[in-house]
Amino acid sequence: MRRAFLLTSLATLAACHPAPPAYRAGPLTISRVVSPEPVRGGPGGAYFTITNAGPADTLIRVTSAVSDSVSMHRMFDRDGTMLMGPVAEVAIPAGGTVRFAPGHDHVMLEALRRTLVAGDSVPLVLVFRRAGPVPVWARVVAYRDLESALGAR
């Protein structure tokens, strides 16, 4: 299973190079899966874009083999103050696109089991209510390269 997944990833990488791989699970496509390299002492994270060509689904959980504490957060602006709150699940509307991006939603990886360095890949599993668990690899990039890795605003 793991080997098949790895081969698929490699095939996707080779086929789409230099574009980063996208992952398909039924009607869902998960692309631009990026993890910023933690700043010394800072937490890890992950961003991705989910495109849904089918009926509404819900992202209910994210897990990772590199972290014992994975959570989803949402940033919001209240009177000029940036606040962050935990999010239990994220709705993926029918035919819609949901972007996890800095300043909006993000996955936070705390209690990291290993050091993440730019160029590494981080395994994540996105668990959807309908589509089930979807394993993906996040590409680790330095914070300074995050805006280009995530593309246009």
Binding site: P36, V39, R40, G41, G42, P43, G45, S69, S71, H73, M75, D77, R78, D79, G80, T81, M82, L83, M84, G85, P86, P102, G103, H106, M108, E110, A142, Y143, R144, L146, E147, R153
Partner: protein, 203 residues
Amino acid sequence: MPRRAAAVAVLLASACTSAGGSGGYRGAVLPRALPRPDFTLTATDGAPYRFAERTRGQVTFLFFGYTNCPDVCPVHMANIAASLQHLTHEDRDRVSVVFVTTDPSRDSLPRLRQWLAGFDPTFVGLRGDDSTVARIESGLLLAPSVREPGDSADPGAYGVGHAAQVLAFTPDDSLHVVYPFGTRQEDWGHDLPLLLHGDWSGR
């Protein structure tokens, strides 16, 4: 205090509407400048740091944040650090970046130093108690930082709500331009020469 926060929001909202149209800045130009404040906090070497004196005549980017911050703080710091690398040595020496922690209970001086060095070893880290920092923030018309309970039972796990904009002081020792979250490296690169060499006389 809530009235003050509302006033800040109104000020920033009106500032944002003039973004891009005032003096060619990509940042938001304030309708009314604020003077460079005179406050003293503790620097990461343990010595007192008098902001007005140490940064006088410089372009100074001042930001309030914390090292456990998931993205707003590291993205701002990384984008500024990347943009500064394109300046000449002469211009680079006239820019300082000052980061004030809004989480003094977790951000020890060594931790602050280590985190900032991950972006640029010249970035200054300052720490003071909550009430001192809140006073500085409100003097700059920023809403004070607030502690947000986390989603776990761990009392050490929490977020800190803080102003998301970087304040840019110019060589005339005034704050004219602020940079909201979402400012890209290209925007910093565009505005840096204007901040360094722009003329604010007559304003």
